[in-house]
């Protein structure tokens, strides 16, 4: 593929010129969000997307791979089996991570597998997370939602919404679904949190992994001894998974259920409270909830970044990606691509945001997405309707942001409301 010399400066932003910009210097991954813009992707991603939607990128360990920021590019790579998800082929895109390729995925960590290994786990699980099965949980989600809103109301104005509402709801649901005692949460919640952190030492990460593994090991052994009517219990009884695989996939599902929707509920609330007309639209018309949820998934894209590795030489957008190159996919930049979503930086709950990449795309698209949809669709309007005067209890710039986590959001969301 010919590398045409650039005839225009990088700062020209009128049109996309991917073919003429490939010879420019590799970039580094922008990671700093602009002050006062807690909902926007790190500054610099938008400029890159406009002039170099597929750019050469220098990784913190010195590897030179790619960074994809355009919607079409990101989506096509996510759906392309020539790009692997195996960790041992990848370089870490964020500063402070390991040097060189990552360790291989632990047993049962589906996000680090390719077909056919991935297919085996996915096929065992996907029947448990269908649209219909998850909708059947709506009443249970509504009951848990009501319980927690009642408790907030009883305690009176002023609370951390993460602790009081956003975290317990998805945690209770994933625990019930998997058959993990919620009362054991002291034994797994912190470990799951550590595993989702991007700035922990390898030693701490390993300790968290071992801690979660130990807990799940005891649980699987208990379910071997006494059958239980839940997802893990059924897998123990009916699947061909080894105990090691059951422990791994159990820990994976638990961690995935604990720290994802919780952040969407909290950060989604933060975004709605910061855009009062949007909050009011959802409050007065709960039928808007399904599409409001899709729009919040697009606008916030809390699972912000993914990495793949080219298994062979791939020609894409007039560029040659060499086998072995890591490709960082900025899902948050892709979901703000004006070529796909007009006025992408505007939160608009009336928008048809279907097709967003908030749950990913390709074979790894979120297994639990239909559960997440039910939880968000029930929880967000219920919260807004219960507390019509809900508002932040601190200035917006004091809300602590999860800039150090692989799932973005807020660490705490202090809110208050007027008592009747």
């Amino acid at each position: 593929m010919q590398h045409e010399p650039s005839t225009r400066p990088e700062t020209t932003r009128a049109t996309r010129t991917p073919r003429t910009t490939e010879v420019t210097e590799p970039v580094t991954l922008p990671t700093q969000r602009a002050a006062g813009c807690p909902f926007d992707p790190p500054a610099g991603l938008a400029d890159l997307r406009e002039v170099r939607p597929l750019a050469r990128m220098t990784y913190p360990d010195g590897h030179v791979g790619r960074l994809a920021t355009g919607y079409a590019t990101v989506r096509s790579i996510m759906g392309d089996p020539r790009f692997s998800s195996r960790y041992e082929l990848m370089h870490y895109p964020f500063p402070g991570g390991p040097e060189g390729p990552l360790p291989p995925a632990p047993v049962g960590d589906m996000t680090g597998m390719d077909a056919p290994e991935h297919t085996r786990f996915r096929r065992l699980l996907m029947g448990r997370f269908t649209v219909r099965r998850m909708r059947r949980l709506s009443d249970r989600v509504a009951a848990i939602t009501t319980e927690h809103l009642d408790a907030m109301e009883r305690r009176g104005p002023g609370t951390d919404l993460v602790e009081a509402f956003a975290r317990p709801l998805p945690a209770l649901m994933i625990c019930e679904l998997l058959g993990v005692p919620y009362d054991d949460r002291e034994r797994f919640q912190n470990h799951a949190h550590t595993l989702m952190s991007m700035d922990v030492s390898p030693e701490d990460r390993y300790a968290a992994f071992v801690g979660l593994e130990k807990y799940m090991g005891e649980l699987v052994a208990a379910k071997r001894a006494a059958p239980s009517d839940d997802l893990l219990g059924d897998l123990v009884q009916e699947s061909d998974l080894t105990d090691e695989e059951l422990v791994g996939v159990g820990g994976f599902l638990l961690a995935a259920g604990l720290d994802t929707t919780a952040n969407m509920i909290a950060h989604g609330t933060f975004a709605l409270l910061s855009n009062p007309p949007q909050a009011e639209a959802l409050r007065t018309d709960p039928d808007l909830a399904p599409q409001a949820v899709e729009e919040l998934m697009r606008y916030l894209t809390i699972a912000h970044t993914s990495v793949k590795s080219a298994l062979e030489d791939v020609e894409l957008e007039g560029q040659l990606i060499r086998a072995g190159e890591s490709v960082t996919l900025s899902l948050e930049a892709a979901n703000r691509d004006p070529e796909r979503f007009p006025d992408p930086d505007v939160l608009d709950v009336h928008r048809k945001a279907t097709g967003h990449l908030g749950f990913g795309h390709g074979i790894h698209q979120c297994l639990g997405q239909q559960l997440a949809r039910v939880e968000m669709t029930v929880a967000l309007p219920a919260l807004l309707r219960r507390f019509p005067t809900l508002r932040l209890d601190v200035p917006a710039e004091e809300v602590p942001l999860r800039t150090n986590m692989s799932i973005y959001g807020v660490h705490r969301l202090p809110v208050t409301w007027d008592e009747d």
Binding site: G79, R122, R123, M126, G127, R128, F129, T130, V131, R132, R133, T354, G355, F359, G360, H361, G362, I363, Q365, C366, L367, Q369, Q370, R373
Partner: protein, 71 residues
Amino acid sequence: MDIRVDRDRCLGAGMCALTAPEVFDQDEDEGLVVLLNARPPRERHAAVHVAAGVCPAAVITVTERGSSTAP
């Protein structure tokens, strides 16, 4: 409109059943796509195209026939 689905490559994400529930479902045990109507009426066509477009495994193929065959 003629629709085909490739169940061998289906990943059970449920985007089709979510987007065009009159045309697509998921089977209860495995979560695999079930095609309820391979030739849906015209008013479903837009949703079918969206469903085919958002399928994460691209297992839905839509073939347009001559417009004269449409109701």
